[in-house]
């Protein structure tokens, strides 16, 4: 049986979901919803209609799972609860501190509508969270480490572009190799922000701009750069476009823990991602959890869930028997 998918919001993430649905034969994309003028939105699947966002609710009986592809700052806190009453929904809400409030708001609506919502799906929160949970449940005495990168983050990149004299720019977060090695050794180091990551900026200056001033302005910027060892490279727009147009990301979740009569044995659990396209990978996770949301709803498991509540087998198109035979 085909699972009918809707995409709500069509930016990089929405397009990634569209691509991911094509890689899963048991899923069908039936509609894309946008707040822009639908006629201006070109999607990859020519046969799939693009509708205005307001039309979504009247299609509630034609869509099994709606995948929300808006941003966490202002879109999802409104959209996920609003749609969870009418659809099984998946979102990638990633403002860690606000997850409890978002969970409560979505749970209320999903429960009222008899629908299943899975929030904060992606890789962090998402796959990284799962790995923190598994590793903590297994090694109850230990220490957690999360490193990000090498990768591009939107916030710091936007901040660079707001600096006076900057025409364009991009920022990479890079984990410090020696810090990773110290963690992997089982030494359980206490690491500061500066010891864990460096930041590298590629900046296209405006003509005649004061390069020294730009470099100082970036390096001293609070939150994004002042707490890090930051390197600034000045390059041309052509080089930026050619070499830095991708959206790579990734990172490492490591738990170092001890077992034994006298906790004399050390163990390292490490999970890492190296992603050419952050939005496409996130989208691939969303799509797998869309399958799970549909199945959980069929089984009467309503309300708001997170990746912690989803049995792994529900993510796969394969049967339990196939999974035991092929992957166990």
């Amino acid at each position: 049986m085909q699972i009918k998918i809707g995409i709500y919001g069509y930016g990089n993430l929405g397009r990634g979901v569209e691509c991911a649905v094509r890689q899963n034969p048991d899923l069908d994309l039936v509609a894309v919803f946008t707040r822009r003028n639908p006629e201006t939105v070109n999607i990859l699947s020519g046969n799939v209609p693009v509708y205005p966002a307001e039309k979504a609710i009247e299609m509630k009986d034609q869509i099994d799972v709606m995948i929300l592809c808006g941003g966490s700052a202002t879109d999802l806190p409104e959209q996920t609860p609003a749609l969870a009453e009418y659809f099984n929904v998946i979102d990638s809400f990633d403002t860690h501190a606000n997850i409890p409030a978002h969970f409560a708001a979505v749970d209320k609506k999903a429960s009222a509508g008899g629908k299943t919502a899975i929030i904060s799906v992606g890789w962090d929160p998402g796959m990284f969270s799962l790995n923190r949970l598994y590793a903590n449940a297994i090694l109850t005495q230990g220490q957690d480490y999360t490193f990000w990168g090498k990768g591009v983050r939107q916030g710091p990149s936007d901040a660079i572009r707001r600096v006076k004299g900057v025409k364009d720019g991009k920022q990479y977060t890079i984990p410090v190799e020696s810090a990773l090695e110290a963690v992997r050794s089982g030494a359980n180091p206490d690491l500061t922000t500066r010891q864990k990551h460096t930041r590298e900026c590629f900046v296209v200056p405006e003509e005649g701009a004061d390069l020294t001033q730009i470099e100082q302005d970036i390096k001293n910027m609070p939150n994004y750069f002042a707490d890090y060892d930051t390197t600034v490279h000045f390059i041309t727009q052509a080089e930026l476009d050619e070499k830095h147009s991708g959206i790579p990301h990734g990172g490492f979740v490591i738990r170092s823990g001890k077992t034994g009569e006298h906790t004399e044995h050390n163990h390292i659990i490490e999970y890492s991602l190296k992603l050419d396209s952050n939005p496409e990978f996130t989208a691939s996770v969303l799509v797998a959890y869309a399958r799970a949301a549909f199945r959980m709803n069929q089984a009467g498991q309503n309300g708001c869930k997170t990746v912690f509540d989803v049995a792994p087998a529900l993510l796969s198109a394969k049967t339990g028997e196939e999974l035991r035979k092929m992957l166990l």
Copy 2:
């Protein structure tokens, strides 16, 4: 509420479970069962009784979860079905090819008794299987790689000790670094057994033994060594005891997959373990799943399960609210 645990079989794994239970304040060890004379079995927890294995079933109402710590060759195929009718059980059955048959036998008994059994728990099968499943569900187009080591395996080590002229010995499986790097690069190489792992043997010869013959006998042994580049080192018993008495193990599960309109983006998901003590880590996984088996049974989810069927939150002593706040 405390969960009452029984241990059935007290070798390295049983002792590891005993240690792991101590690291989990919500679990109580109530009894150890052995096929040896109980008076000859010294356990770490002086206040816990050791009983003969036959006494287990009469204690069915005093134990919430029985953790089976026997071997996969002959113990578990008999013991797990036999006990699953009376107890929630966990085992670490690891003969991959026989999992479907073992699952069917255990499912029949656990279902009949209204109990919950989780089989093939540990790290491979177990955590490695989970990572294969998650990675396959996310990256549906891709290739899987599993590497083992650096670590000691029982089978090949026993085989060394059966070679004529060998007094004692130990074998390590070691992943080939260049093969790991090729996989991490996204090149999707096809790798032979020989290209993935090497084997290193530390051998204590009997006095006057023919060392050249021993080396040839080991290197040409089918299955265990002939398909690998094998190195043989001759050392003294003292050196073997001092430097090679541990039971380390570990390995890597890597999936390399593609996404995008033209599958133009590559992604690498990697999970790895570096374990000082294979049995103690396996035991720590068993104990976390014992908690889950108890909870699933309370919720009426009976029959045979695997790690694929267990929602991650069930493994943790923390509440859903705590998990969302601290680990998501």
